[in-house]
Each structure stands twice: as C-alpha cells, then as structure tokens.
C-alpha cells in the first residue's frame, strides 16, 4: 500500500478510485461521490485525472475516524459502465479470498 503522501507524486494512468479499510472492523470500503464510504465498488467515485485523484484522496484521508490507509487504486470500466478492479490485489480485496474458507460462511 502506498501512503497518501507518496501518492501525491503519482500520476494515474487510467480510471481510478480511492479505497481504504473501515476503522471499526477493517472491511474494504470505497470513497463515494457523496463524500462518504461504501462497501460496494460499484458505488465508488471514479477519477480520471491526477488532480481529481489527489483531491479525492485528500478528502478521503481527512476522514481518519472512519477509514484507515486510503489510497488510489486502478479500476477498469466496461462498455456497460461496470466498475471492475484494476489488478489482482484489488480483485481479491473487492471479491474476497480466492479459496474456500475452512468454515463455510
């Protein structure tokens, strides 16, 4: 995970979101356009420029009580507008572990 400070230097190469973990339980969350958080990637605010990304990250990181470790993550947008994680790590964070849990949920 790259810290928000380091990410200020990063230029995004495509559509991105801001993601973090929820403070009280650690669940994966995404910054929404309504300036809140959602557990659904489909609710995430999409940024397409580095300036937008930096602004969204700054807003997200300011919520230190609700979220931990906010960072910019790449996504892919399908032709139908569906948001998909942009890499394996984010796929696993979004969809969960790739193996069966020892005890079924």
């Amino acid at each position: 995970m790259t810290s928000p400070l380091e990410q200020k230097k990063i230029r995004i190469a495509g559509p991105s979101v801001v993601t973090a973990n929820r403070t009280w339980d650690g669940v994966v969350i995404y910054r929404s356009p309504q300036h809140g958080w959602s557990v659904e990637l489909s609710d995430a605010a999409i940024v397409r420029t580095s300036d937008e990304a930096r602004a969204l990250l700054a807003e997200s990181a300011a919520d230190d009580v609700g979220a931990i470790g906010a960072y910019i993550a790449p996504v892919e947008i399908s032709d139908t507008g569906k948001i998909k994680p942009g890499n394996l790590r984010e796929r696993i964070r979004s969809k969960g572990i790739t193996i069966d849990l020892p005890v079924p949920a």
Binding site: T23, D25, G26, V65, I92, I97, I99, V103
Partner: protein
C-alpha cells in the same frame, strides 16, 4: 506445562485494560491512526487486506487443552470459525473486528494467553522445539530457558523500540526442529567438556529480503550468564542497528556489515559491563522457573502393547504411525504429530471444531497438553503407545490424520495475497494444488522427506529460502510469477536454497515442482537418498535442465 503466577496474570490483564482504553479512544477519534498504529501492533493487531488480523503468541509452542479450547472459542465468537497456525508458534485470526478485539483478548487472558509483542520492533514470541521436554536425547527441557527469556524480554523498556523486530529460538536437541539458525538469536543448549550446561549462541540469522544463516558468536555461554550475554547482544544491536533503512535494520545486516568477529568484540566489550550484575542467574531463579513446569505422571507401560500389535495389521494405521508417531523419552509413550495439511486444504489452518476436538483428545490421551510446531502442525506430546490406534481413529474423524508429516504435501505456506497486505502473490492456492498433485500417499512416501515452503512475498513468512523446494511469489506486470529455489534447509545444517532459473507463471508452479521431483526420483542414487541430499550431491544444474528444457 508452565503455570503462570499472579504477576503474569496481572500483567496480561492490565495490558488488556490498557488496550481496551486505547481502542475506545481510537474509535472515538481521540487517537489518530498514526498514533494508534504502534499501540495496536504492540498488541499483535495488523490490518490486512480484508480485515484486522490478531496474532496470538503460543510461547515455545506449548498449549493446554483449556487454552486451545479458548482459542477455538475466539475463532468461533469473534472470527469466522478457524485460525491459522504460523511458522513462529503463533496463531492468527483473520477477521476480527477492532471493536471486539479487547473482548477477545480478555477472553484469552483468562487462560493466560496474550498477543503482546507478536508484532512491532521488539523481542517477539520466544520459540522452541515443539518436542521440548519429551524428545529422547535432549540435554534438558529448553522451555525453562525459553520461559526465562520470555519473562525477561516481555515489556523490557530498553528493547521495546529496537531498530527492527527481534526473534529468539531455542533447541536442546542435536536435531534442530526450531530453525535456530534463521533467527536473530539462536540458542543451542549443550554441555561443555566439564559437563556444565550452557548455550552455543548464534546471531544474525534471518530470512526475508536478505537471508543469512546465523553465525556462532560464542560456542559456550553458561546458563547463569544467558541473560547478561543476550542483553549485551541486544545493546550492541540497539546502538548500531540501522534505523534509517527498514531493509537494513535487522541484526543480520549489522552482523554482516561489521563481520562476526568485530560484532563479537563489541558484544564482549558490552558484556564486561553487565556480566556480573543483577542479570546473573542464580540457581534459585532457574529452579523457580523449572519448578513451575509440571510434567505428567507417566505410567510404566510396554513398548509394544497388544493394541498396537493388533492395529499393525491395518495398513492405513501403519502408514499413519510410521509417518506421524515419533519416539518419546519415556518408554511406552510416543509423540504424535497432527498434520494440519489435508489434501486441498490451507496449510496451518484449524477450525474451531478441530481445536475443540484436539483439546478433548489431549485431555484423554496426552495429559491435556498440545504443542505447536513451526512447520504449522500440532503435536500431542505424551501419548501412551497403547492408545495410538484409538487416537488415530479419532483424529481421522476430524480430518487430522493425514499421513504426510515431512512429506511433499506437508507444505509450509504464508497466508499470501489472499489475506496479506504485504504479499505480491498467492501462496495458499499453490499449496492446495500441490497437495492435490501429490495426494497419493504411496507416491509421497516413495519420494520421502521433502519440505516445500511457499512465501507470497520477499518477507518470507513461508520460509521459502529454507525449503528443500522454495517457492517465492513475485509480481510481474500485474501477473503472479514464482521463483523456485532448491537445496534450502532449516535444520542443524541450515542453508539458503539456490534459484534454479527464471520465475514461472502461477499456472506452471505445480508442473515445475513435479518436474523437480521426477528429476530427483530419476537421479537419486538409492531409494533412501533424500531429496535434499541428492541436491547437495548433484547441484542445481540437473534440476534446472529438467525444468527449463521445455520452457
């Protein structure tokens, strides 16, 4: 078992109260994450990909049945019904909510279990041989000294903010089951020419980004001087260890850069000041610790009871017995390893139901005691040989009688990218696929002892450097690739494995391991030449050729 005294109990309970207050202040916003992070890490709480992870210490790998039941309770009540035993005699719970962590720790504290110093730049859980106290030929029970070190290092103010984490491991047997040569300080209990008990002290071992095998800094330190000598090492490290670069902060780098001779001189100089101080252990202190370890009232039992003779006709039982049962120092008893490596399962995981079942079986057949090994298996250390058949049937019912201990499917693996925020690649699915490929126990037995270790990143929690076959996950252009090493080992002949060639993609790892194993079977001089010995004799080239000839 070691019986905690009032001081231990008070310390653990006070720590829980302190952490409860810290969590409350974090959740209210009174503490920022920056302020809270170090506090949670000092209590074993990490943030992983999907949730918080709680790492709980199992000092020197010894658990009572009551403690194991409590771990099962925590898994069930606060997590998702299972736990993951690690390579450092800890258990990790992967889905705990921060808000519930104080309650979980309070429940653990009631049975003398805690998570202090399972993370952070301090001295970590002191580990030891999982067969301590019961292995034949042992000098003495190394847990007495492990416990001394545990007490000495717990909340030690001078060593709570070291340059980086610091790990001790102790063994008292000729065969090292505690991997002491890949620890910051490794201690081998032995007797000198005068018959005095003391320690060979090794320093600067470690895996991770820059693996080193520990070097002997002093061949013999008398037991009474253990704490002062260890303190001298830690003081030198604390003073000179690099705080400017996290990748160069471990003591192994300092030892490497200074050279062991220079480092030893620094330690000797420091030791002059502390050697004859309050740190000198008088016999009464050691005896006090020793007296708090209780041992079972063993019966006088036959080595080959009728129950065992009868069961020997069952080939499945015999396969398991030969694989999982080891000699005990007391005639008529045995040490039984419980494989946490079922075919297709995540290595090292145990469900709450399994933990409860093992606790019940420990009460019935092992004087209520369980051990945890760094290979991510459990052991029952005091089983009467007459009880082996009935124990085997009971273990089989709960999926804990897989006869693969030390075989190709007894894989050490870290949680990898499925759970871990540091990982680059997945470990568990690779392990699962390998266990399926080698699911036939006859084939696995034909191959013989073969340790496969898998890490999902360079931090090497899966000890890939010291696997006979080591697998390291890396990321290349967004895809998972795996580097393969062979020839590593973690025992008394510890060595770092050699890379055999370019990394291979996720989908080819199991094929590569099969190729390596097939090459070994074709090249070994005789059926009892172990894989690791064949690699030593042949070098990596024949294996490299086999793997890359068609790739």
């Amino acid at each position: 078992m070691y019986a905690y005294d009032e001081l231990d109990r008070t310390l653990i309970n006070e720590r829980v109260s302190e952490f409860r207050d810290q969590v409350k202040r974090r959740l209210s916003g009174e503490l920022t994450e920056d302020e809270f992070k170090m506090l949670r890490l000092q209590n074993g709480v990490y943030l992983q990909l999907h949730a918080y992870m709680l790492r709980v210490a199992i000092p020197y790998g010894t658990l009572s049945s009551k403690q194991l039941r409590r771990l099962a309770h925590v898994a069930r009540r606060y997590d998702r019904g299972y736990g993951h035993f690690t390579t450092r005699q800890n258990i990790q719970f992967n889905w705990i909510k921060l808000a519930e962590l104080p309650d979980a720790l309070a429940d653990l504290a009631e049975v003398g279990i805690h998570a202090m110093q399972t993370s952070g730049n301090n001295t970590r859980n002191v580990t030891s041989d999982q067969w301590a106290g019961v292995a034949p030929g042992e000098i003495e029970d190394p847990r007495i000294w492990s416990e001394l070190l545990r007490q000495y290092t717990t909340l030690h103010p001078e060593f709570s903010f070291l340059p980086r984490k610091f790990k001790f491991a102790i063994t008292a047997s000729a065969h090292d089951r505690a991997a002491i040569k890949v620890h910051d300080i490794g201690l081998r209990l032995h007797k000198n020419a005068e018959g005095e008990t003391g320690f060979e002290v090794l320093v600067g071992g470690g895996l991770g980004r820059t693996p080193f095998i520990g070097k002997t800094i002093k061949p013999f330190v008398p037991g009474r001087d253990l704490l002062s000598y260890v303190e001298a090492i830690l003081r030198v490290y604390n003073q000179y260890g690099r705080r400017d670069n996290i990748y160069k902060a471990r003591i192994k780098i300092l030892v490497h850069e200074l050279g062991i001779e220079k480092f030893a001189q620094e330690v000797e100089q420091e030791w002059l000041a502390t050697r004859d101080s309050a740190l000198t252990l008088d016999d009464a202190v050691v005896e006090e610790i020793r007296s708090r370890f209780t041992y079972p009232a063993y019966e006088k039992l036959p080595h080959m009871p009728d129950e065992l003779k009868k069961a020997a006709h069952d080939p499945d039982f015999e396969t398991w017995r030969k694989n999982s049962v080891a000699p005990h120092k007391v005639p008529g008893y045995a040490i039984v390893t419980l494989s946490l490596k079922p075919v297709g399962g995540p290595p090292g995981d145990a469900t709450a139901d399994q933990m409860d079942a093992v606790a019940d079986l420990a009460d019935k057949y092992s004087f209520g005691e369980i051990r945890v090994g760094h290979e991510q298996n459990l052991a029952l250390p005091h089983v009467a040989r007459r009880d082996l058949p009935v124990l085997w049937r009971a273990l089989d019912k709960v999926g804990l009688a897989t006869p693969n201990v030390n075989l190709v499917t007894d894989i050490i693996a870290c949680p990898g990218l499925d759970y871990c925020s540091l990982a680059n690649a997945r470990s568990i699915p690779i392990a699962q696929e390998l266990t399926r490929r080698f699911a036939n126990h006859d084939t696995a037995n034909l191959i013989g002892r073969l340790h496969v270790n898998i890490s999902g990143c360079i931090n090497a929690c899966g000890h890939h450097h010291v696997g006979h076959i080591g697998i390291l996950g890396v990321e290349k252009n967004g895809e998972e690739f795996y580097q393969i090493t062979i020839g590593g080992r973690a025992d008394e002949h510890a060595a770092v494995g050699t890379l055999i060639g370019p990394a291979v993609p996720y989908g080819e790892v199991a094929d590569v391991v099969e190729d390596i194993v097939e090459a070994y079977l074709a090249l070994r001089e005789r059926p009892d030449e172990l894989f690791i010995d064949a690699v030593k004799r042949l070098g990596v080239e024949p294996f490299r050729e086999r793997v890359y000839a068609t790739r």
